[in-house]
Each structure stands twice: as C-alpha cells, then as structure tokens.
Symmetry: C2
DNA sequence: ACCTCACATCTAAGTTTTTCGATATGATAC
DNA sequence: GTATCATATCGAAAAACTTAGATGTGAGGT
C-alpha cells in the first residue's frame, strides 16, 4: 500500500498539461523521445526532464534500444492511481460525522 | 469538454499530499475549515490557501453558514476527472503507430 | 457598541519547478 | 578513430508554489 506522498507525486506529474498530453500520446503505444518531441514546442532537454519525472513517479516505463529510448505507460501504476483516487473521493460509511462546533460552547 | 489545462489543474491540486488528504477527509462528508485544521500541522492561513486552490479547480465546493465555511467534494468534477484520466491512459484504437526512425535514413 | 470567533487576504521568505543552452554520454555510421 | 545522432545531465534564470505572521472582514455573543 503506497503512501499519500507517492500517489500525490503521480498526480503532480499529471498536473502539468504537457505531461498530461505526453501520457495521452503514450496511451497509443510505445514512443521514442524523438517522436514526442516533434509534437511539442519545447527543447530537447526540457522534454528529457519531463520524461524523467514521469518515469520517477512510476507512470511511465523506459526501454533502451540502440540510440533510442522508448517510453510507455505503466498500467500497474495507472491502476493503482485509479484505485487511490476512487478511495479518496468516494463516500465512506465508516466516517465519523464531524459537525462544526460539536458539543456547543457551554 | 474541458481542456488539458483545466484537468491538469485538478491533478496539480491533488499533487500536494496535504490537499489529497483534505479531499480524503471531505469524502466522509461536508466539513468546516476548523475541523480540517485540527488534523494538520499547518497555519490557518495556509489551510485557507489550500482550500481556495481546491475550490478554484472545481474539486471542492464551499458553503457559508454564519461564521463557518463548509467544504464538500464536487462529484461532477470528480466524475469528469475520472473520465479524463481514463481517456488519456487507456489504449486507443485510432492511434497512428509512430515508429522511430520511420522512413529510414537513406 | 465592543469583543471574539472563523475565516480570508496581504505580504514576504524560502523552496521547488520549469525551461533553455551548453555540454556529456553512449550508440551507430563511415 | 572520427563524426553524427538520440538522449541525458549540468548550470542558471525566471516563474510558480508553499508557508507563516499580520491584518482585514463579517457574524455572533454579551
């Protein structure tokens, strides 16, 4: 079971529109950095940095073939994030009702 | 249909572990700021700032009752974010296969 | 009216993120 | 080996984020 911090890191990675778009692109299948770079108005070093972030949070996997680095989505992390998001946003039964000013003020 | 930017904003809001925890707390039902503040080691102004972010991205709704501000999750935004996340992470059929070095180098 | 409570806003410091250009690395081509 | 290509890393500047203390605001209590 991952911590809030670990899951939040994935959310943070998706919090950049360009990275969200990269994830979208990768959902079509594995891509090398060069193909991703073609679609964006960013420098190569910036893309490399974004890819590093996406990999470090577990959302993306990398694979080295010759000169190229191929990136693809990590379905396990995606599944976990979906589960986490569902867990923190769906109504829970076991919760204590926490009414403000409970107990009154004397 | 919302833009990448708008959805990314929600992800960014969830990218802070404390805000993710606040969302988790709110999934148990509406809470006033005072009750949320009790659970965290942060100043009142900091919490107020986080709540503003959560409201601005649409994830949380606010309601004013007397001295108190009550916060609750906005299920519509949650639904939309789930749909967006699913859309950008599930395999698509209509994608063009983009193989690196396509066309060769002569 | 005056005080207090709950919360928002302002200001400012410290930290992190984003981005690029320059440089490094490692693989393939010649 | 040398050149080139794809990508990573370094270094630095600018922008954005996080946080707390001080102050403002508006509702209620006395």
């Amino acid at each position: 079971m991952k911590t809030y911090l670990e899951h939040a890191r994935v959310f943070k990675a998706l919090g950049d529109p360009k990275r969200a778009m990269i994830v979208d692109m990768l959902s079509c299948g594995e891509l090398c950095a060069c193909r991703i770079l073609e679609r964006f108005n960013i420098s190569q070093s910036t893309l490399s940095h974004h890819m590093k972030l996406l990999c470090e949070c577990g959302l993306v996997k990398e694979r080295y073939v010759g000169k190229w680095t191929y990136y693809s989505l990590d379905s396990e992390t995606i599944k976990e994030l979906k589960a986490f998001f569902h867990a923190i946003t769906s109504e829970k039964e076991a919760c204590i009702s926490m009414v403000c000013d409970k107990g009154g003020r004397k």
